[in-house]
């Protein structure tokens, strides 16, 4: 494992964390409008998975998509601007948090429809298969989303056609206000791989190295034309479902206990320090740079203009 990769992983996870914290702040003040779902506590997943991808590969994201977008290589300033509804945002302010996308890096969009991404990801993979490239397509989805019919249709199709697509389950134990086991007939979502004669594996989703390695295997398999897999990342949703969620369905203590024991960023930092690869000072340096970058992104967003009203009719049809 190279030091560069360690640094990259840490920097990406930390960037996501700081990005989300600033978003939370502005969202609570209603300066960021719309529904906002934070990725705090799940940073290792996007980071580890996307480290296996190039910009020629695709991801389909979810309503909780900031982490995926950052990990896939999007710029935080244009992301931030989008979340503020500014014209300099990736979607010119038309999308916002639930519809963030950066096609230039292969990030094909967050999705406000839970389970909306599976079939699109399969389609991108189908395109690459027809074109005989070795690009792959990855779709992130939640435990809750695993009960959508689209899960079944996309997986069956992907399996039958051996499409280069990887299904990454982010099992954070909650679907909004509902514990996933209340509404899900299996403990491990990845068990459902059996229904499609494909591999299904379970991974500690808060261990970025494990995420990287196990998703890497599935991605490699897809790249070689051996078809799809389900990789289930076990994690936990630290924040409310959306910013402003009263969280009447669980106690603060419950959540804090889980986070303290299992913060993926802290865990990774401890590991690197214990391995002697980086020092506290190295971390400080990375952190400062990231904080700086996010501060600049916030400033960029604040300084940017709102779209002109005339923009309303643009981007509807091409012909």
């Amino acid at each position: 494992m190279s030091k560069e990769l360690y640094i990259q992983f840490y920097r990406t996870m930390y960037k996501i964390r700081i990005f989300e914290k600033r978003i939370e702040e502005f969202s609570l003040k209603a300066e960021i409008p719309g529904f906002v779902h934070l990725y705090i506590g799940e940073e290792a997943i996007a980071t580890g998975v996307c480290a296996n991808l190039t910009h020629a590969d695709y991801i389909q994201s979810t309503h909780r998509g900031h982490g995926h977008t950052i990990a896939k290589g999007a710029q935080v300033d244009r992301m931030m601007a989008e979340l503020f509804g500014k014209s300099t945002g990736y979607c010119k302010g038309k999308g916002g948090s639930m519809h963030i996308a950066d096609f230039s890096v292969g990030m094909l969009g967050a999705n406000g429809v839970v389970g909306g991404g599976y079939t699109l990801a399969a389609g991108a993979a189908l395109a690459e298969k027809i074109r005989k490239t070795n690009n792959v397509s990855v779709v992130f989805f939640g435990d809750g989303a695993s009960n959508r019919g689209t899960f079944h249709e996309a997986l069956n199709m992907a399996a039958v056609w051996k499409l280069p697509v990887v299904f990454i389950c982010e099992n954070n134990e909650w679907a909004s206000t509902t514990p996933y086991l209340d509404v899900t007939s299996v403990q491990d979502i990845s068990v459902r791989a059996v229904s499609y004669s494909i591999p299904g594996v379970i991974v500690d989703g808060n261990d970025v190295m494990k995420v990287y390695e196990e998703s890497g295997k599935a991605i490699e398999r897809a790249r070689k034309g051996e078809g799809p897999s389900i990789v289930e990342m076990k994690t936990y949703r630290i924040k409310g479902h959306y910013v402003g969620d009263p969280e009447m369905y669980r106690t603060k203590e419950e959540v804090e206990k889980r986070f303290d024991a299992n913060d993926p960023i802290k865990r990774f930092k401890d590991k690197i320090i214990s391995e002697g690869v980086l020092s506290e000072n190295d971390f400080k340096e990375i952190q400062e740079k990231v904080i700086n970058e996010i501060d600049e992104a916030v400033q960029f967003a604040l300084d940017s203009p709102y779209p002109e009203v005339e923009e309303l009719y643009n981007d509807l049809y091409i012909d």
């Binding site: 500014k86 014209s87 406000g112 009203v309």
Partner: protein, 325 residues
Amino acid sequence: MREITFSEATLEAMKEEMERDDTIFVMGEDIVRQGGIFGQFKGLPDSFGIERVIDTPISETAIVGAAIGAALVGMRPVADMHFADFMGVCMDEIVNQMAKIRYMFGGQARVPMVIRAPDGLIRSAAAQHSQSIEAWFNNIPGLKVVTPSNPADAKGLLKAAIRSDDPIIYFENKDLFRQTGEVPEDEELLVDIGKAKVVKEGTDVTIVSYSIMMQKALEAAQILESEGYSVEVIDLITLSPFDEETVLESVKKTHRLLIVHEAVKIGGLGGEVAAVVAEKALDYLDAPIIRIGAKFTPVPFSPVLEEAYRPKTEDIVEGVEGMFK
């Protein structure tokens, strides 16, 4: 009279009806622990237990499909759609099963169920969480579509929908949930399904609207009255099949028609209302019909664009003024 919120009004309707009739149950996503996104199910599990107030998986086809199946065998399910935007997921269940079963089976079946569907713009919720999609269902025989514009109707209409033996889609505007209004304490408060309401009488122009846009319609009416116009305002309440008679009668009196809804104007329900009038009361019209609705784009996120997208009171005022120029 006491004032309660629109959300509380629907909650009362649920409670009273569920007490009255134990074949009624409700299911949807996230309704048990937090009482629904808009508080519209708050406390129901305490009163009726989680056998009758049921949290579902994120499986809209199963939610609506199961409601249909339960209705077929004698229950009266209420299925919550979370956001109306997700009705595309279970559109097949709605149009090919729910709406057609009774007819296809020659009247053997009853499908007494209600789909509750929170719709409309709300704080930059963007393209997939802001839609008003009532027009989709207007062309589908076998189901009824209703929507209240205030807390009292919210209660009476939901009660009537639950009691109806026909399958009903009950759209409830998301922004209305927190608004308050007078609601009589009457367990038999029922709003007639199929009937529009003349909310304000007038003689110069008829404004037809429903749901949240009723407020802008009434606001505009007030402005217009101050300018000397006598404005009649009709709340459609039932959108499909809608009450032609009340609309036609009004237009025959006022000779002018403006229709306003929050849904996209083109292809919206306003077209159907306009067409009926152009068919059956054309000779009475002294001015072109005006339709007002949202712009023909998906709902944009940015507050600036969302505002540009949304139909406004002054659009109504200007529209009516133009009729007299």
